[in-house]
Structure formats: structure tokens, C-alpha cells
């Protein structure tokens, strides 16, 4: 996605690329992630929490059903993010 970035500013350089390489053109604020955590911790997500549980009949967990992602829209436009 982006080239090697040498030097002490690697972190900021990486963040700069991440910041611009999505439709929203910004990085998420910790508070935005926190609000998703509040939803998951609340009873509003009770059905989702049940849906996340592994199916014992199939003998293994199906964690993917319960995974939520927050992003700036990159996954909606990039083939490389598809599983």
C-alpha cells in the first residue's frame, strides 16, 4: 500500500498514509471506538452477543459472526480487505 518509510518519523508517516487512504480521510478518535464498546457492553447488543457464541453442535467457535469493525470506509472500496 505504501513504501518503506525510514527514520524516526515512521509512526507519523504510517499514520499519515492511513489517515488519507480511506474515504473519511481521517483516523478514528478513541472516543469513537469507546462508543462501540459501550454498545457491546450494553443490553442493546444482547442478541448480537448471543449470536457471537460458538455453536457447540459444529464443534468449534464462530467468532467471526460477532466481530464488528469500525473504519473510515476503506473496507467498502478495497478488494484486499475481503476475506
Amino acid at each position: 500500500m505504501f513504501g518503506r518509510v525510514p527514520g524516526e518519523e515512521q509512526g507519523e508517516a504510517v499514520k499519515a498514509v492511513l489517515r488519507t487512504n480511506n474515504p473519511s480521510k481521517r483516523l478514528a478518535d478513541p472516543l469513537e471506538i469507546a462508543k462501540l464498546a459501550v454498545y457491546l457492553a450494553s443490553d442493546d447488543s444482547a442478541l448480537r452477543r448471543r449470536g457471537r457464541l460458538p455453536d457447540r453442535r459444529r464443534g468449534h467457535g464462530h467468532f467471526g459472526r460477532g466481530r464488528l469493525s469500525l473504519g473510515g470506509g476503506k473496507s467498502a472500496i478495497s478488494d484486499c480487505t475481503r476475506r
Binding site: M1, F2, G3, R4, V5, P6, Q10, G11, A13, V14, L18, D29, P30, L31, I33, A34, K35, A37, V38, L40, A41, S42, D43, D44, A46, R49, R50, R52, L53, P54, R56, H60, G61, H62, F63, G66, S69, G71, S75, T81, R83
Partner: protein
């Protein structure tokens, strides 16, 4: 009344970044919050912001050759957390050939081991039946961005651990029934898990 009124929540890595923001939001929604983290100074309130100074944390660093956390339940009335928010991360971007043993152990690896593995392991026995474990990972677990060899590898480990925990903890599922009373007498058959 907030959406998390009367709920008990324990947060690992709760003294900065996403963990601190989550702690403040949980608090604002009415939850009783306990936090733990690697920075003893901010946990104790000496260097932390106003919220961490007033917060009631349940972790302490023990004096030992290799300092470690100890998750205790108690100090703030968070005796049996119904929610565990597992958050631990630190982004240290380096080219793979620049990664050293020290940078590895001081960065995400340390937070993964101490925050996620050790603290959450200690917290699990405190959780009531029907509790939720919320694990914060990163899209980096599925990406191959340069300079993120350690960060993203640790995040991938977090995602995989979440799969394993979801299988191991299946018997604690919230059945919608009242929780069973526990042998130690802390269970309350009249209360739903909080």
C-alpha cells in the same frame, strides 16, 4: 439513567488511549468501572488526568524482579464484573530489520502478555455467568502494512485468542435465566448478570 447503569466493568489497558476513553464512556453511561494498566503513575493518579485520579482501579503493581500486575476485585465495589473490556495496545512502527528484542518486549508484546493474557486470565474467574468479554483488536491483524511487523502480528494473536476464548467460554453463555448461586455465596439468584 445510562445504558450501563449498575453494570460492573473491568478494563485492561484503561489508563490511556482507547481504554481510557472507554472507561470514561462506561462511567458516563452509569457503569461501575475498574481499570488496570501498565502505567502505575497514571493509575495512581499522580500523572493521570482528572478522570483517572477519581477512578477506582483494581490493579496494583507488585514489587518483584519483573514487575507485574495483579488484578484484584474489589476496591470500588466491582466485586464481580459482568463485562470485561480487554484492551491493550501500543503502536511502535519499525521496519522488521530494525526490530530489537528490547523494542519487542517494551512494545506490543509486553502489552499483549501482561494486559491481555495475564490480566484477562486473572479476571475470568471473577466474571459471573452470562458475562461479556469484549476484545479490542485492529484491522492490522488482516493487513500487511510495512513497519507493522510486531504491531500487526500481536493484533493477529489477539484476534485468534478471541476465537479460542469464545470456544472455551461457551458454557458461560447467557441463557436468559437467572445465574446459578455460586458455592462461595456471592451468587444472587434474584439478579441477572450485570
Amino acid at each position: 439513567m445510562g445504558r450501563l447503569a449498575d453494570k460492573n466493568i473491568l478494563i485492561t489497558g484503561g489508563n490511556s488511549g482507547i481504554g481510557l476513553a472507554a472507561a470514561q464512556e462506561f462511567d458516563r453511561e452509569g457503569a461501575r468501572v475498574a481499570i488496570c494498566g501498565l502505567n502505575e503513575g497514571s493509575l495512581a493518579g499522580g500523572q493521570g488526568d482528572a478522570w483517572t485520579r477519581k477512578s477506582r482501579h483494581s490493579c496494583r503493581r507488585q514489587q518483584s524482579r519483573r514487575p507485574r500486575h495483579d488484578v484484584r476485585h474489589d476496591q470500588a465495589g466491582v466485586r464481580a464484573p459482568g463485562r470485561l473490556f480487554v484492551n491493550a495496545g501500543h503502536s511502535d512502527f519499525r521496519l522488521f530489520e530494525e526490530v530489537t528484542e528490547q523494542s519487542f518486549e517494551q512494545g506490543d508484546s509486553r502489552r499483549f502478555q501482561r494486559g491481555l493474557l495475564h490480566d484477562s486470565k486473572k479476571a475470568l474467574p471473577l466474571l459471573r455467568q452470562g458475562s461479556s468479554v469484549i476484545i479490542n483488536a485492529s484491522v492490522g491483524a488482516r493487513k500487511g502494512w510495512p513497519t507493522t511487523s510486531i504491531v500487526s502480528t500481536c493484533k493477529a494473536a489477539v484476534v485468534h485468542l478471541a476465537r479460542i476464548l469464545s470456544a472455551e467460554l461457551v458454557d458461560r453463555r447467557d441463557s436468559g435465566e437467572y445465574p446459578e448461586p455460586r458455592p462461595d455465596g456471592h451468587g444472587d439468584v434474584r439478579s441477572r448478570p450485570r
